[in-house]
């Protein structure tokens, strides 16, 4: 910091003299000054070439031991070197802390984030708590690599689309101007032509018709201009509509797909980010609702059962040709052998009847169903 302040103090004097080689602009009008964002010491182009061409070297300014590289040297944008530095820091921090408003739960959280960012920038600029702030920033950058990248991409996209839109608008404005000029020309030409036409007819015609011819010419001109005006209106409306649709298209900003990798572990630098709801992965469809297809509780199905009646069918290709499968018979007979073995009707039916009578609104759709209610209503006959 001190060198920068010194530079600022003596700027008026040093302006035209390179602090390293002491050559002045007076002798070398093409002299350009460069700075390095490492220490912001100013030096002339020839000095940079001389000192740093053979690789990184120490800053030649006395008392500054920063190692500089040639490729980092650049032209100074702002006259004030402090502003230059702050802008650099700001750019760097903004690149890392590039959360967007839509990523936050509330407006308040976003404002807090902005304030926090400004604080970090101020810390770095004024040199308070630099080490901690830097380490925080580093950690955040490494943890949120993906979201930072995504947001950078988004920004780049937005910037490019904005540029594109602007050039498009300029092009449109140019076209409009062109059209207006063209129109003005046409109008003038027509006016002149009309006048000439009237004059020639006056010259050719009889003197009595003069007034009539003049009136007719006026009428033709009026008609033409009104037609043109309506045409103009039409075009203008069309253009307006076009512009509107363009604006609308541009308004649909791309949605953020940033990953907000907030984990419950270390406390994150930024608070108030929206929780990411990762949709639960869809389970594979289970057509049996949890039942195992061939599971049974009373028996285990075999592939073959000895049976003198069925054995001939096994051998007979005529019987099996149509797709008859003895396995079906086995599974069906055994299923029917045990289906309902554990249903004790005297218990289950009485339980069912209780629930039925308590449930008054039994669906009685047909007369057949009405018959079902016979035990409760006592009307077994069908309608009479």
């Amino acid at each position: 910091m001190p060198p920068a302040r010194d530079a600022m103090a003596h700027r008026g004097d040093d302006d035209e003299v390179c602090p390293v080689c002491k050559s002045s602009r007076y002798l070398n009008p093409d002299m350009r000054f460069l700075i390095n964002p490492e220490c912001y010491h100013k030096m002339c182009e020839s000095c940079v070439d001389r000192i740093f061409s053979s690789g990184p070297a120490n800053c030649p300014v006395a008392g500054c031991h920063k190692t500089l590289r040639k490729n980092r040297f650049r032209k100074q944008t702002f006259e004030d070197i402090n502003v230059e530095r702050e802008v650099d820091i700001r750019r760097r921090v903004m690149q890392v802390l590039n959360r967007r408003e839509e990523e936050f739960d509330s407006k308040r959280a976003y404002d807090d984030f902005l304030e926090q960012r400004e604080e970090i920038i101020a810390n770095l600029v004024h040199g308070t708590d630099v080490a901690k702030t830097e380490s925080d920033l580093q950690r955040y950058a490494s943890e949120n690599m993906r979201s930072i990248r995504a947001n950078q991409a988004l920004e780049a996209q937005e910037a490019s689309s904005f540029r594109e839109q602007q050039t498009q608008e300029q092009e449109l404005a140019r076209l409009r101007r062109e059209a207006a000029r063209q129109e003005y020309e046409n109008e003038r030409k027509e006016l002149l032509a009309g006048r000439e036409d009237v004059l020639s007819r006056l010259a050719a015609g009889r003197p009595g018709d003069a007034a009539a011819i003049a009136r007719e010419g006026q009428k033709v001109l009026l008609k033409k201009s009104s037609a043109r005006r309506s045409e103009e209106d039409r075009i203008r409306q069309k253009q307006a509509a076009l512009r509107n649709s363009d604006a609308r298209k541009a308004g649909q900003g791309p949605l953020t797909t940033a990953d907000r990798a907030d984990d419950g572990g270390a406390p994150s630098l930024i608070k108030g980010l929206k929780k990411i709801k990762t949709p639960e992965p869809e389970k594979p469809y289970d057509p049996f609702g949890g039942l195992v297809p061939n599971q049974r509780d009373y028996y285990t199905l075999r592939d073959y059962y000895p049976n003198s009646y069925l054995d001939p069918i096994r051998q007979d290709s005529r019987m099996q040709a149509g797709g008859y499968d003895l396995q079906e018979y086995y599974s069906r007979t055994l299923m029917e052998a045990f289906a309902g073995l554990g249903c004790f009707l005297d218990e289950e039916v009485s339980k069912r009847d209780i629930t039925n009578t308590s449930n008054v609104s039994r669906p009685v759709a047909t007369e057949g169903a009405a018959l079902a209610a016979v035990s409760s209503t006592g009307a077994p006959e069908e309608s009479s």
Binding site: Y298, Y299, A337, L345
Partner: protein, 419 residues
């Protein structure tokens, strides 16, 4: 148990399963309602006859009046629920006989289905209302259709004794279907029996499969267990013979006793065939149950759910077996046959509901018959409304008629001219 849940989804379980008490009360309700209706119908018929008589003769003869009074005072003797039950049983047996009339005879399963249809029908209807003589062939014909045993109506009619008209057989068809609540699925124990026997044979040949909850069983264990049953026999042929005999006997029980009793209403098909097997060969049936539900009862099995199921199941099977065993064919019992003849021949004849007698005719003009049966109060508002609507509709159409309006105008004009 998965198999039990499969059965619980059937209409037989949902609609046609009862406890003994609920079955009895349902029959009693049906009987009282039917008796009331029969009495009311007979009184109406008498009134109609008397009014016809009086209008015919002009002045009511004192003698006939007294006579009608006498008949009126004599209470009409209706059937009791027990008598109704006997009538239905008799006609159930008749279905078995009727099945024999065809060449080839109708399959057992068709007859069994028909019997169950008949029995289900008479749960909510009384023989006094619809005579079983009419319903029985219809139920059988319906069963041939639902069990996929095709017979044309003409073929079927030829087998029915008394050669009724084809229309008479199918006349009550819709009525029967309605009373069945359109559930035609009857779960029979026959196929289950085949499955059980199939597995017993597999065990006897050393190919038994352990039950899913008792994986410790080996085929050899099962085989040894089977061969060590009480009248023990060493040879495989003898065991095969024993299984065949048990199979046959069980089948006979299922064909008759299980059909004519209330077993279908009170027990599930697998319980029915197992209790029939208990009757046919008790050691064999118990052995088979043990292979499924674990060995005989021991004290250490107290908490085991299979043990609880086994005790409960044995009780249920024994109850069912008692019902099946109590059955005796009517034809073999002269005394019962005689009382039955009296019931059907005289009592049922007298207390038959006269308004439901002609099913075929009723079907042809249902609305009119219904209106007549219901009396004057029955020609309800709906009928009047319908007529009114019809009239209105016709009236409303008139002005739109292309030529009708003109004619009226013409006539009025003529009138005006005349005037």
């Amino acid at each position: 148990m998965i198999e039990d849940d499969v059965y619980r989804s059937s209409s037989q379980f949902r609609l046609w399963s009862f406890t003994e008490a609920s079955l009895k009360s349902l029959r009693a309700t049906t009987n009282t309602v039917a008796s009331d209706r029969v009495r009311a119908a007979l009184r109406r018929a008498q009134d109609a006859r008397r009014s016809a008589n009086s209008s015919a003769t002009g002045t009511p003869a004192p003698g006939s009046d007294a006579e009608s009074k006498a008949t009126e005072e004599k209470p009409i003797d209706c059937l009791t629920p027990e008598e109704e039950q006997q009538v239905v049983d008799y006609y159930s047996e008749q279905i078995i006989q009727l099945g024999e009339n065809y060449k080839p005879p109708l399959p057992t399963i068709v007859r069994a289905t028909a019997i169950q249809y008949l029995r289900r029908f008479y749960l909510t209807n009384s023989p006094m209302t619809y005579h079983p003589k009419q319903i029985m062939p219809c139920a059988l014909f319906l069963a041939t259709k639902t069990d996929n045993y095709y017979l044309s109506l003409r073929q079927f009619t030829e087998g029915v004794p008394g050669q009724p008209a084809a229309e008479d057989i199918i006349a009550p068809e819709f009525l029967v279907m309605q009373s069945l609540r359109f559930t035609f699925d009857v779960r029979h124990p026959f196929r289950g029996l085949e499955g059980g026997v199939m597995e017993l044979r597999a065990i006897s040949q050393g190919q038994g499969q352990p039950a899913p909850h008792l994986l410790a069983q080996t085929p050899e264990d099962l085989r040894r267990g089977l061969f060590s049953l009480s009248p023990s026999s060493a040879s495989a042929a003898a065991m095969n013979d024993r299984i065949s005999r048990a199979h046959h006997a069980t089948r006979e029980i299922l064909k008759t006793a299980a059909q004519i009793t209330d077993a279908y209403f009170l027990y599930t098909p697998s319980q029915i065939w197992l209790s029939a097997l208990l009757l046919a060969d008790r050691p064999l049936a118990e052995f088979y149950l043990d292979t499924k539900l674990g060995g005989p009862i021991t004290t250490q099995q107290e908490g085991n759910p299979l043990y609880a199921l086994r005790t409960k199941l044995l009780l249920t099977l024994n109850n069912c077996a008692t019902i099946l065993q109590a059955y005796k064919p009517l034809a073999s019992d002269d005394v019962r046959m005689k009382t039955l003849k009296r019931i059907i021949g005289k009592k049922l004849y007298h207390c038959q509901n006269p308004e439901k007698a002609n099913l075929a005719g009723q079907k042809r003009i249902p609305a009119a018959a219904a209106a007549a049966a219901a009396g004057e109060s029955g020609t309800s508002e709906s009928e009047m409304e319908r007529l009114a609507k019809k009239r209105k509709l016709e009236h409303g159409n008139e002005p739109k008629d292309l030529f009708g309006g003109d004619l009226v105008m013409q006539r009025t004009k003529e009138k005006q001219l005349d005037g």
